[in-house]
Symmetry: C2
Subunit: 505 residues, 2 copies
């Protein structure tokens, strides 16, 4: 009689929830067992989990689970990109912008071309014959470097900030570059390589530039909207976390719907909104935004890795051993060569040089991850008949880099004695010195009539303080005020500690 209670479709959310439950529990248990967590990166565990479940499902059912492109591009990628943009250290990023752009843009293009070249050179050895445009597309998606494993190692052993920001910044922009290039190339692949004329390549380049610029501009517009919304919602703080998490996502969706780069929009939004929202949100709301964003993005990444493990037992696999071998080798070597060449160029202009050990770690840290897998799953089987083989190869590349490089990078960093740095908070004196140093440099530049980076940075900071901050922030604070605040907070804290000491608490 009461079966009518079951009146709605509870099975779909229950299935998804059961999955998520499994992932969460596996991660908790993984971190509980100190041995496993010390040797393997977390992504390795998640792939194995997916693998086991995939094996079981494979035996029990004949169904094939795979990552749907919509799920990846609309729901899993945006939180990961927002997280990366938001937690990028602004100051270090803009100081090293030149070097980072060199690695991310030139480096990625270098990687794509060399990998495509190597794969194309060995073409006669493969079972499949691939047109060059398909190889180029594949080289693009396989060039997306996943920094999670490397960064978690870096954070654990506190490498120097230069290395950290270079790897972080590179991987962030590298994702954006590969995704945008991927879309340009995949529409070219649909035309078919025999129909491509030189004009198409020119168009593709113009398109790439437009799509990137458009994405960044939309991102900037949404920085303003988010800042205004948080400024005005001071009376309804309960809405603020939603504004900060949801508006950047909206910028992503809008960008995508007008054919601009959503990933660049959301990264820009995350990167630029940080100073304004920290001024507009109360402490609790800000903590919520940061913490929840981290939780969300780590969850999205975990889901992608489990899908990757799952698909390892897919029935659609098509292996081409030589192709896989060449790809893995090309991925690893081109990365090393690219890093060496680009560092040589970058060091020519830099005062603080990037050392040899840092280069080795940067090269070695080129693990492939979630983005590669998401992109390869998005390929159109009609345009690229070899899709299944490319998916299989991508899985091989990811598994090899995650398991081999991922497990050995921590011992390697220790072995190579990469310069480390204690995560010290700057003292007030250091802050004052840095600031006055910057100001002095700007003064020197003004006297000798040069307009270097210090001049422009000072100009930008003045503009920000005089016009942007008062518009977008509730309580704009100047550099001097911040310093004074910090000073009085520090001295009060010091006194309190001394007091506690005296009372022997």
């Amino acid at each position: 009689m009461f079966s009518a209670l079951q009146w709605h479709d509870v099975n779909t959310p229950l299935l998804i929830s059961a999955w998520l439950f499994l992932i969460i529990m596996a991660r908790i248990l993984f971190h509980r067992s100190n041995v496993l967590a010390k040797i393997f990166p977390e992504s390795a565990l998640l792939i194995v989990l997916g693998l086991i479940v995939g094996l079981i499902l494979d035996k029990l059912w004949v169904m094939d689970i795979y990552l749907h492109p919509d799920l990846f591009f609309l729901y899993l990628l945006p939180p990961i990109a927002l997280d990366a943009g938001y937690f990028l250290p602004n100051n270090a990023f803009f100081t090293n912008l030149g070097t980072i752009l060199l690695y991310a843009v030139v480096g990625t293009v270098f990687n794509i071309i060399t990998i495509a070249g190597v794969i194309y050179a060995f073409a006669p050895l493969y079972e499949w014959s691939l047109p060059f445009i398909d190889i180029l597309l594949f080289a693009t998606l396989i060039s997306a470097v996943d920094p999670v494993a490397v960064l978690s190692v870096f954070e654990e052993i506190h490498v120097n900030q230069l290395l950290y920001i270079c790897v972080f910044g590179e991987s962030l922009l590298n994702d954006a570059v590969t995704v945008v290039l991927y879309h340009s190339l995949s529409s070219m692949a649909k035309i078919g390589s025999e129909n491509l004329i030189r004009e198409d390549f020119v168009h593709a380049f113009i398109n790439f530039a437009m799509v990137s610029t458009g994405g960044i501009l939309i991102g900037l517009v949404w920085v303003c909207v988010t800042a205004f919304a948080t400024k005005w919602s001071y009376d309804v703080p309960i809405l603020q976390p939603l504004v900060c998490l949801f508006f950047p996502y909206l910028s992503y969706l809008i960008s995508e719907s007008v054919h601009m780069s959503g990933i660049l929009a959301i990264v820009t939004c995350g990167l630029m909104m940080k100073p304004y929202i920290s001024g507009n949100l109360n402490e609790k709301a800000l903590t919520t935004v940061k913490y929840f964003l981290k939780t969300l993005s780590s969850c999205c990444e975990a889901i992608i890795f489990v899908f990757l493990g799952l698909s390892t037992f897919s029935k659609n696999h098509t292996w081409d051993l030589m192709f896989a071998l060449v790809t893995v080798t090309a991925c690893i070597f081109c990365r090393f060569i690219g890093v060496m060449i680009l560092t040589w160029i970058a060091n020519g202009k830099r005062v603080q040089k990037i050392g040899l050990m840092d280069q080795v770690i940067m090269g070695y840290g080129g693990l492939r991850g979630a983005i590669c897998y998401g992109l390869v799953m998005t390929l159109d089987r009609d345009a690229i008949p070899a899709k299944d083989m490319l998916v299989s190869t991508t899985v091989v590349v990811i598994v090899v880099t995650v398991f081999f490089q991922g497990t050995t990078i921590k011992p390697l960093v220790r072995l190579l004695k990469v310069k480390t740095q204690e995560p010290l908070q700057k003292t007030v004196t250091q802050q004052v010195l840095t600031h006055s140093g910057d100001d002095m440099m700007a003064g020197v530049e003004a006297i000798i009539g040069m307009r270097g980076s210090n001049y422009w940075r000072r100009r930008l900071s003045e503009f920000n303080h005089n016009y942007v901050q008062p518009t977008l922030m509730r309580t704009p604070t100047s550099r001097g005020e911040k310093l004074m605040e910090k000073y009085s907070a520090l001295s009060a804290e010091e006194q309190r500690l001394r007091l506690l000491e005296r009372f022997g608490v």
Copy 2:
């Protein structure tokens, strides 16, 4: 050429996001305009927003937007229920459990029966002829009281804690009772009133008891799972907010899938997990859980109210003026009478009596809201042909109570001079006194050989401290330790403030 960029379905999430954006901005602007926010409850604004958009959509398209039952029961209701359970003050709730159960269970049943009786008595005046079982079902769903408007007024003017906890606790359990009863009755309505025999009513009652108990038990199991998961995930704090928000939801889904009461499961889970997770989570993770839960539930409520406004311009409306008039009157009067009678019963046993003014406010605070609307939309048109008329009537009841009672309750509370209470943090002395008072009462009870509420509370607290806490918590703390911690924190803070004063900061 590059239209291929638009490779996935971006429109659905974009549409939903645009909606959410509109809701967020409307709420921000509403709170910015002090005049509006002072007169109307927020729900009124949201209904008007839905109404305006509904009007525009109605003119532009011929489509009909309505709240799908799946959306309501699977995604919007659980966060609201979890929020209510989590933020219920445990201590006050268990101290006044008897009174609250009286209001929530007996009161709700009283309301249902009297409203159904009144509606049935005027049956000849309606255009529709309704079987009694349908009227009973309708009376059930219209008895779900929405506390949001009242509680927000209470929080603003700090009414005394007794009134606060009674209204909060009542509305929380009242939702659960109505939802469970609703399901029992709706399956009876499907059988059809002519086929119902007395046994069906007995079955319905047994079913009600089983479904409730089952839900509570599943909730308790998930309290343990959540506590264990947070205890073990100390090394991966990034997962903890997800565990605390997602596991209760899982308890809801599992309950529903085995035909138990999901709402009771999630409420139990939220209510009972609080002390354990606060011991297991670090401060930031805990803030994130609390803040995000509040944000989420307020968002879900807002969505329901907008849907309600939207549906006001639906083309499916069927009006029965007399029926609506009788229902509105019955809802308001039965509520008042019920509160009066039950308070009289409760006051017979209570030491701290519930005053007349408090009763008036409790009666007047019986606004109808999101739950009513969600439930009425879930009705099965095949079983209940009058569904459209019932939906229209429900919309009328909600709009009348929200706009009329919702806007007048704040002036009324001021006018009636309801006893208010400053939201003081208990001083250490007060805490010690309360605790030793409780202990003394338990001692007195032991001497005179009575086992009253103090005895059982002490027993339960001992059991919790000796067995449950060490199992479920990472660092269980006894009452005494908590007191000492608080004391040293207080004295350090006091010293710091004095210091700051002396320095004139």
